[in-house]
């Protein structure tokens, strides 16, 4: 197991490097550089900026250096000093802006992942065991609908319905009195209440996909001879199903975290923008539109890194669950 863990962690390093290069390229794509944008902004507000200050800023961020050197300056500032550069839209260092939001994004994605599992597992098992029953058809139909509705549309519909029929607005993650308050039980509870709608919105498409996977996996297992043997031994039906076929059907299920997680983070971005959640989504959109490149790059980098780490955890989980994976 230890060798497997080491191998997987080592394999992750090139991926992380590649992700950082992609994020850096995204920063470089818009025409002009950070300093020209800053100068343009200052002159728009009527201020002039001293050319020597501009030159100094260029020097500080190494903007006169070749691109590969700029990359090394950027990435080593991040790795060694935790310095992601400055957001010129907000006028503060990027690191001051992103950590809270990344934390909330993580909470949202993880809750949605757990929701997806808790809902998809029983429905998937039911659909497979009671194949072609009314419940199975209803589940399959809902699964298809869930796959076809884009996240943001579902968010809009839920927002409209709750506004129209309950008279409440469901955006944000905190009530007004808790928004800037320090963490307390009351605030956590408030967050929990506000998470319900975003989690449902985010979890729907993932749940739909997992129900179908679980159903297919379990159907492959249910008619194998070992199940008949167990039944012949006189094991009660539900105990039998949970003890043997469900366990082997779970394996491919665990490995799906690898691709559910990137999807959840993607979905969380759009959903957060519609529901106006204080996660990375709205900040990323705003920074992209304002060409606040360091902020945008930092967020794309960190979201990807989080996803890759999540995928690593799911791989390790799978290896722990299913020893065969380790020896491949």
């Amino acid at each position: 197991m230890l060798t497997y863990v080491l191998k997987r962690v080592l394999f992750m390093i090139p991926t992380l490097i590649a992700v950082s290069i992609v994020a850096f390229v995204l920063i470089q794509l818009p025409p002009g550089d950070f300093v020209t944008t800053l100068a343009a902004q200052m002159s728009q507000m009527g201020d002039t900026i001293d050319p020597t200050t501009l030159a100094m800023l260029r020097e500080q961020y190494g903007l006169n250096e070749p691109v590969w050197k700029q990359y090394f300056i950027w990435i080593s500032n991040i790795l060694l000093h935790g310095d992601f550069g400055r957001s010129f839209d907000w006028g503060v260092p990027v690191s001051e802006l992103i950590w809270d939001r990344l934390g909330l994004t993580l909470v949202l994605s993880m809750t949605a992942l757990i929701f997806t599992w808790v809902v998809a597992l029983p429905i998937g098992i039911y659909s497979a065991v009671k194949k072609y029953s009314v419940g199975d058809y209803v589940a399959s139909f809902m699964a298809f609908i869930g796959l076809a509705i884009p996240n943001f549309l579902l968010a809009l519909i839920l927002m409209y319905l709750s506004y129209r029929f309950l008279g409440i607005s469901i955006d944000g993650l905190f009530s007004r009195e808790y928004a800037d308050a320090p963490w307390s039980w009351g605030k956590a509870l408030d967050l929990g209440q506000h998470l319900i709608v975003p989690v449902i919105v985010l979890g729907t498409s993932g749940t739909a996909a997992l129900v179908r996977i679980m159903r297919a996996n379990l159907l492959d297992e249910l008619y194998k001879p070992y199940v008949t043997t167990a039944r012949a031994k006189g094991l009660s039906e539900w105990r039998l199903i949970f003890r043997y076929p469900v366990r082997s059907a779970m394996n491919p299920f665990v490995s799906t975290i690898g691709w559910t997680l990137p999807e959840l983070v993607s979905g969380a971005t759009v959903t957060a923008i519609v529901l106006n959640l204080p996660t990375t989504g709205p900040l990323l959109l705003r920074s992209l539109i304002a060409q606040d490149v360091y902020l945008a790059g930092a967020m794309i980098l960190m979201l990807s890194v989080l996803t890759i780490i999540g995928t690593l955890i799911s791989d390790l989980l799978l290896a722990w669950l299913d020893p065969r994976v380790r020896y491949q």
């Binding site: 298809f144 809009l156 506004y163 690898g258 759009v270 959109l285 794309i300 979201l303």
Partner: protein
């Protein structure tokens, strides 16, 4: 169907004449495409969805004629006018009409309110004269499939938007852009996917390893933030058509991975099949072997994978345009239309702004069902 049998891999694929009476000749004498078709026909939901998709593409082809108005036609008097019901009976006779509006000023909310007035009848007709257009940029005409007989009277079957533009017409025009984004994006993905997946599966070894790592890497990045970053880098001054192509290129950057996996899997499975060995011993070159013998034998799988990739493209374009970093007005796509519904205030005053979403959901559902049916049919010998 018949002409495809020549490229089928099965040694006893029959020439055209002997399969004319279909089933009588038996399963083992039917060509691959015929088997594909038989299997597909059994999947009724998929066949229905296929017909629906063809209809949607027809709508997008004849948008100018089918839409009652041009997408930019606005009516200041009818901002946020609610949808009118279509009536076909006036109590005694058949008469196609909608009911007109009365506009009232609500003194409490300071808003204009539309009230449907049963006294005002707006007679409708087929093939009526309306706003002029140029079909496919070639034929000038002003005949519309359905519209009010008197062009000055209002007809808003799905309501009107902020500028009093007809939602139905805009959805019909949006079909053109949204559906072709899927097609163009998938064609690009298909090219990349078949090329890289083919190389990966055919040559194997280090090349395969490198391409597989690349795919895994692309799948590990959350796509929406990546797309957002790329789309935001498109200069806002670019003409709409170029933005359109940039968006499709961005979408296919990730989209090819799924297709590459399918192609690679097929190549790996087929590399050691007898008919491939036979062709190789016959002196077929590498390129000829791939293009003439291997590709045709799994093109049904590729068609299925392509069908399942189109809805992903459509959903992505919709999401990007909705956020305001994809296609931009005056281009009309479903995502651009949904942009109008971005905040809860406008959705609360005009819920019909969400109708383009319904078009998205129906299309995506139909494409998924169709793709599922095609995928099942691609393995005609299974069960």
């Amino acid at each position: 169907m018949g002409q495809a049998t020549t490229t089928a891999p099965h040694p006893h694929a029959s020439p055209d004449k002997s399969v004319t009476d279909g089933r009588l000749q038996g399963l083992e004498r039917a060509g691959a495409w015929r088997l594909f078709w038989w299997k597909f026909k059994k999947h009724r939901l998929a066949v229905g969805s296929g017909i629906l998709i063809i209809l949607i593409y027809l709508i997008s082809m004849f948008a100018e004629f089918l839409a009652p108005y041009a997408p930019g036609d606005y009516g200041a008097r009818y901002t946020y006018a609610p949808p009118q019901g279509l009536h076909i009976w006036d109590g005694e006779n058949f008469s196609l009409h909608v009911l007109g509006y009365d506009v009232e000023f609500n003194p409490e909310s300071y808003e204009r309110e539309f009230i449907v007035d049963p006294e005002q009848k707006v007679p409708l007709g087929f093939f009526v004269k309306g706003s002029p257009y140029k079909m496919w940029g070639l034929f000038a005409s002003d005949i519309h499939f359905l519209g009010p007989l008197d062009p000055s009277q209002p007809m808003y079957l799905l309501g009107a938007d902020r500028l009093g533009r007809d939602m139905l017409s805009r959805i019909i025009y949006g079909t053109r852009v949204s559906m072709t984004v899927g097609l163009v994006g998938v064609s690009l993905s298909l090219f990349l996917g078949v090329l890289l997946g083919g190389i990966s599966g055919y040559f194997g070894g280090h090349i395969d390893n490198a391409i597989q790592r690349l795919i895994e890497f692309l799948l590990a990045i959350p796509t929406i933030p990546l797309w957002m970053g790329l789309a935001a880098a498109i200069p806002p001054t670019l003409p709409p058509l170029q933005v359109y192509f940039m968006i499709t290129i961005i979408l296919s950057l990730v989209g090819w991975t799924g297709l590459a996996r399918v192609v690679r899997g097929r190549f790996l499975a087929m590399r050691n099949e007898d008919f491939v060995t036979a062709a190789r011993l016959d002196g077929a070159g590498e390129v000829g072997l791939i293009l003439r013998h291997m590709l045709p034998s799994f093109s049904s799988h590729i068609i299925a994978a392509v069908t399942l990739a189109i809805p992903v493209m459509i959903l992505s374009e919709t999401a990007l345009s909705f956020l305001g970093i994809g296609l931009r007005p005056p281009v009309v796509s479903w995502g651009v239309l949904l942009q109008e519904a971005q905040n809860i205030r406008s959705v609360a005053t005009a819920p019909w702004l969400l109708t383009p979403g319904l078009a998205v959901v129906i299309t995506v559902l139909a494409l998924n069902f169709l793709g599922d049916g095609l995928r099942d049919a691609a393995d005609p010998y299974a069960d």
